[in-house]
Symmetry: none
Subunit: 147 residues, 2 copies
């Protein structure tokens, strides 16, 4: 399971190191990772097997003939990128993904149970500020989680 918040840097070649704690978590020891556009202008990064579960579900439910389905496919699946980790534990973030998430150099990486999220530092700070304020009330709005 992926948890934790990490500050890393993206180098000139678009490479970013996956935090060791995430890289070597059980769920994360895969041959490759898949990065794609996520909600709220961050990137979602899945280990191979988790990604495959999602695509399988999507394939069952999405149809070629429905407009919304095509849109979701193009927004979520098409931008995805398979990446093997290099010897230093890094993956490459493609240019279109970097643009989408507006990441330049300083990056925040979040563990999010079955995926990793990559945020530009600016976006993350803004998001965090906004949501910390309403954290308590937020708890009441979301579904009954049985906590």
């Amino acid at each position: 399971m992926f948890i934790g918040e990490y500050r890393h840097t993206l180098d000139d070649k678009g490479r970013i190191a996956i935090p060791a704690k995430l890289r070597y978590s059980k769920i994360g020891e895969e041959e490759y990772w898949v990065a794609t556009k996520g909600f709220d202008h961050c990137l979602f990064v899945y280990p191979k097997n988790e990604w495959n579960v999602i695509v399988k579900k999507l394939n069952e439910r999405l149809t070629l003939t429905r407009k919304e389905d095509r849109s979701f496919l193009r927004m979520f699946v098409s931008p995805a990128n398979e990446q093997t980790v290099d010897k230093q534990g890094r993956i490459v973030i493609s240019q279109s993904l970097r643009e989408y998430a507006r990441v330049k150099r300083d990056v925040v990486i979040l563990g999010a149970i079955n995926r990793i999220e990559i945020w530009s530092e600016e976006n993350w700070n803004k998001y965090r500020e906004e949501n910390e304020k309403s954290f308590d009330s937020l708890g009441e709005k979301i579904a009954d989680l049985g906590l």
Copy 2:
């Protein structure tokens, strides 16, 4: 599985390179590809075997007597043409397809699971802008896929 977003160029002869990641993906190593008109004014490009699957389905489900079926067949199957890749990994996009998708020089190529899509840059930017806005809410509609 085809995934990824790529920016390529179409040359004066109508040739376009299939991104290497797509060309060499398992599903993509075929003798030839089939390009045809797709939804939303882009082009759909299938590897041989995937195209055959589509045609088989159409054959089973479309009837000669229904007006809409005939129309769909003529819009989707008739404009299709087979293309072998040259030594540089390119295929030729026929003029009528180029006109349909309004592609001139700058082109965006999308991996879309079992097909590839070719967009003119302008069309893609417009489509993306319109659909990115509703991406977050769209995700909710598609609902709990465990993303």
